[in-house]
Assembly symmetry: C2
């Protein structure tokens, strides 16, 4: 849960004077997002989300994220749409922080996805990849394989406190990933963080995608691998091939994966597991003893990694062989 910056009614009124949203009726900090401070606003014009970008999001990247959301929303991908101020801009400042207002999306996120939800996510991801293919801006993936060794260096001395031998296992895996990582797969805009809490449903229908603040330019199949990690494991960390098959089939109905992408899926899935294992380890080890905020369990991704290491071919993920 996250509200890092206190916003006064006076701060907000001053900011809203630049918008055509009518009087401010209420605003409440919400316990959503771990990178930014988020507020639900009610104004005469309706409900909106105000986001204050905190220090983990680079200010220079904000035009990329906001332009991308506008671009996708204009092309049928339901996602929060940046609201323009009277000067036509979408970025301002509140309480000293860069800030933007986006439209409020109805929908609920699903704690226990079923194969139907996985299929809906697969389809939405493929549509995002197709629509994003002509997006004119690029952003390097700041959490790609090139960054993992630096993250590992931050945690290696203490990762054995989390699980004995973990440091050595990650070191071996990093060596393997750096040797085998694919280079020539189709690239484009990826969401890079399409976890269940970033996908809204109304009933069984997917109603929108949120949180594009990790979006970047990278291999499309890597985004698929992230989703397999995020959506297709059970709470006992076993892989559910029925969910995997549902996600992949629905994806391929919109955008077919090439033979090279099929072949690369196991290594991409290992890489995705390592990426979340490492960032969660950094967060886990950064939290002081006794703190009230509990970070996400890094070992969830260690167990997923172990599964991916056991995979012999993409067929294990649910592709028709």
């Amino acid at each position: 849960m996250a509200v890092y910056t206190d916003v006064t009614a006076e701060d907000l009124a001053q900011f809203l004077a630049d918008y055509d949203l009518g009087d401010l009726l209420s605003y409440k900090g919400i316990a959503e997002g771990v990178e930014n401070s988020n507020f639900v606003l009610h104004t005469r014009a309706g409900s909106f989300i105000l986001t204050l970008y905190e220090k983990r999001v680079a200010e220079k990247d904000l035009p990329f994220f906001l332009t991308l959301m506008e671009y996708l929303a204009a092309r049928g991908i339901t996602c929060p749409q940046p609201v323009k101020n009277k000067k036509g801009g979408v970025l301002g400042r509140v309480a000293g922080r860069p800030a933007a207002i986006v439209t409020f999306l109805d929908g609920l996120w699903v704690r226990r996805p079923n194969p139907g939800h996985c299929a809906a996510v697969g389809e939405a991801l493929a549509r995002l990849h197709r629509v994003g293919s002509d997006f004119p801006l690029q952003r390097v993936n700041a959490l790609s394989i090139a960054s993992w060794r630096a993250l590992y260096e931050q945690v290696k001395d203490r990762s054995d406190d989390v699980r004995p031998g973990l440091g050595t296992e990650i070191a071996y895996e990093l060596d393997a990933l750096e040797n085998e990582w694919p280079r020539d797969l189709p690239s484009g805009i990826i969401h890079a963080d399409l976890f269940p809490d970033n996908v809204f449903f109304l009933g069984d229908t997917l109603s929108g995608l949120i949180d594009f603040y990790f979006a970047c330019t990278d291999m499309l199949a890597y985004d698929v691998a992230i989703c397999l990690n995020a959506w297709c494991f059970e709470s006992d960390h076993s892989y559910n091939v029925t969910k995997g098959r549902a996600l992949l089939r629905a994806y391929e109905k919109v955008r077919g994966l090439s033979q090279s992408e099929h072949r690369a899926l196991p290594i991409l899935a290992r890489g995705a597991a390592v990426r979340f294992l490492l960032t969660r380890l950094v967060d886990w080890l950064a939290v002081p003893d006794g703190a009230l905020v509990k970070p996400k369990d890094p070992l969830e991704y260690y167990r997923k990694l172990r599964f991916h290491q056991s995979v012999r071919s993409a067929a294990n993920y649910g592709f028709a062989s």
Copy 2:
């Protein structure tokens, strides 16, 4: 900020099946209230607040609080109104916790109240006291003078870590309060926690009172003393007599204070300062070093107490002498 209990869409859908609020469109945990978990709900019927009562609120007291809100709302005090389920009840369970839905109140809380805001609060408090006078239920004030010594016992060994000599000063003050505390002043329903974050304004107009979870039966003038503490000090902890006069005059236009209440105001204000000093000390000393959640500064109320100890008569608070 507070969301102590995670609520799944499935939990909530099951709970809402007992209500006539239409489909659930979204819900978000909000960073408001320190005792309970609160969520903004959007349903086809509009916006609501869902509260899950956490362990600091006694379940046996919930009918008192909810009945009081209904009673006040029906008599022109704008406050959240409990929403009845299909069986006519207002209390249910979500995720194992007692839970209620109340109407959503528009409005913003004021960080830097001016004398106009103080007058509006004085008037609203007096109206609350008048309307509450016929409320049929009673609730003992669990944080009245009878409880302060027990709170002091919890913190006395470490209060000097917060400020040298603080423990001794509180001990002397408690002795004095126990000797001089008034007994025969008019009693009735008091809010007991009417701080700026519990009073909403739209523009300069007070739009509602929230958070009745400390409400109880106690001396009405004690509630006035709490408000003087909460609304009429500057950030440098000096008392602003203009704000005090505005609050008291507006209060007395609706409900006159007796001579005995006037005379008792300085001792009641000292008591109110001690009550918040003690509960803040308990919270302050309970938080582990390095925790991310910072409790409110107890010494703010030590400084206010020092002011009240210097007061010679109620005239110092802004009454016409």
